[in-house]
């Protein structure tokens, strides 16, 4: 299938002339990204349709993960590396964008080379605060501390410094600063939106009314 030109793109290169075609061009762009890129962004940059980019991304993802089953009728025609073993890296869709990561299995080896930027494990207090903010966002510090039963000011400050949460404006009623999680948080969690967080309800047995109950209790 020939990639079609988007209306907004002045000219799409003819990828047939390139070694590896449009897929390799996409791969070349993925190599220079320093933050996750969305499909629209990649499509616009490459002069391809979003659908075509989506197909190519999925194909690259499968290739990097290694094909295990062989499809004999395709074998001779295909040049996508069928039957190959997994690569040392993977392509993942995280926080709404695609990006190349080293494969988790090699963490100990890769970690020796990229010590910088690796963050220490969060404390229990930080994790709990982060959890409350993630599930109740946007949320004020007062509410978070109501749920946790302790003052959370310094933990909130640290989480903001680590780029995991950010200011989300003020509460129209109380004027308190509200907090939400950042896309860096999603990235660190390896998910593309907060909707992918595990459901809270199974951990809250039979407490349907708790939100109102709780709200009535806040100042």
């Amino acid at each position: 299938m020939t990639p079609q030109q988007d209306a907004g793109i002045d000219e799409a290169p003819d990828y047939a002339d390139f070694p590896g075609g449009a897929k390799a061009a996409l791969e070349a762009v993925l190599m220079v990204l320093d933050e996750p890129a969305g499909e629209e962004e990649l499509a616009a940059g490459l002069g391809l349709t979003v659908a075509a980019v989506g197909t190519l991304l999925a194909e690259l993802q499968r290739e990097y993960n290694g094909y295990t089953g062989k499809a004999p009728e395709m074998e001779s025609a295909s040049n996508t590396g069928i039957g190959s073993s997994p690569r040392g890296f993977e392509l993942r869709n995280i926080a709404g964008g695609w990006r190349i990561y080293s494969r988790a299995e090699f963490a100990d080896i890769v970690g020796k080379y990229v010590l910088e930027g690796q963050t220490a494990r969060l404390t229990q207090a930080a994790l709990e605060t982060l959890a409350v903010i993630a599930y109740r966002q946007p949320v004020s510090r007062a509410r978070v501390s109501a749920i946790r039963g302790v003052n959370v000011d310094s933990v909130v400050r640290t989480l903001a410094q680590r780029g995991l949460i950010e200011d989300a404006g003020t509460d129209p009623e109380s004027g308190a600063i509200l907090y939400r999680t950042t896309s860096y948080f999603l990235e660190r969690m390896g998910i593309s939106s907060v909707e992918e967080l595990p459901q809270l309800s199974p951990h809250l047995p039979g407490l349907d009314g708790i939100a109102e109950f709780y709200d009535a209790g806040t100042m």
Binding site: R99, I100, V114, R141, A146, I147, M189, H203
Partner: protein
């Protein structure tokens, strides 16, 4: 987890707040809240504090005061739980029941967040094993970047640095965090002053009469804590003929200069 060693194995420093400790204690004792023996927990706590002292560590006032809050909460929960359900007679009983439900609900909510926090922590750890490719731009591309537009004078730049380096003023006016309360601010010190005045006029008084005019459970807890503080200051003594009998409080600070101002400030933050 904490089963291997004797003594107060629940190290308070490892808990992140009263709910956390409460959950820990309930789980540890595998008991319904009504069966948590405060005396056992207290004994363990005192043992723990003594051990800290032997080790030459600071007498942790924070831990002790937090423990008092928790003990009071436990007592409160327990008292509410022990109320015969069929015999709700007055507003006080209903208030106690409501307080109990609220506490349980909040405890369960906290438990749920604690569980998902565990999942989050595990996910973050696992995800930390993948490293994103985020390399410097290849030189020939970096060379293509448009020349930087720079319009800042050194003075403007210094002003920028001043602003960036200035300590961030707290976004909200500084105040004691009360978010975790389900009532208004109650000061232990204030309650102590009030109890002191009352006991100086008439002594002994029963605990029941001292809390008769308390508007909320929180005030009862505050007065209870205030009495403990007064006891520590040797301003009052307690007198109870038998367990669960009427508790009488005697004023023993006669002739001595006594002021609520000397009380510890810790509770101002705790309550």
């Amino acid at each position: 987890m904490a089963e291997s060693k004797p003594g107060f194995e629940v190290r308070l420093a490892n808990f992140t707040g009263p709910f956390d400790l409460l959950l820990g204690l309930i789980a540890k004792h595998q008991l319904d809240i009504t069966e948590v023996a405060i005396a056992t927990v207290t004994d363990e706590f005192i043992k723990y504090i003594r051990k800290l002292q032997q080790l030459g560590e600071e007498w942790a006032l924070d831990e002790a005061s937090e423990f008092l809050v928790i003990a009071a909460t436990l007592l409160d929960l327990k008292a509410a739980r022990l109320l015969p359900a069929g015999e709700v007679e007055d507003d006080e009983d209903i208030a106690l029941l409501e307080a109990r439900d609220l506490l349980f609900a909040r405890l369960l909510q906290y438990k749920a967040f604690k569980q998902v926090a565990g999942i989050l922590g595990e996910t973050l750890h696992q995800e930390g094993r993948r490293f994103p490719r985020q390399v410097a731009l290849e030189e020939h591309f970096a060379a293509m970047l448009p020349e930087l537009v720079w319009k800042h004078t050194p003075q403007q730049f210094a002003a920028l640095a001043e602003a960036a380096l200035r300590p961030k003023t707290p976004e909200e006016p500084p105040r004691v965090a009360l978010g975790h309360l389900h009532g208004s601010n109650v000061s232990v010190k204030e309650q102590a002053r009030l109890l002191g005045l009352r006991l100086q006029q008439e002594s002994p008084l029963t605990f029941r009469s001292l809390i008769a005019d308390a508007g909320s459970t929180l005030v009862v807890v505050a007065r209870f804590l205030a009495l403990l503080e007064l006891f520590r200051d040797r301003a009052v003594s307690f007198d109870q003929l038998s367990p669960l009998a009427e508790l009488a409080i005697h004023w023993t600070a006669q002739g001595r200069e006594w002021s609520a101002e000397n009380l510890s400030e810790e509770y101002e933050e705790q309550l």
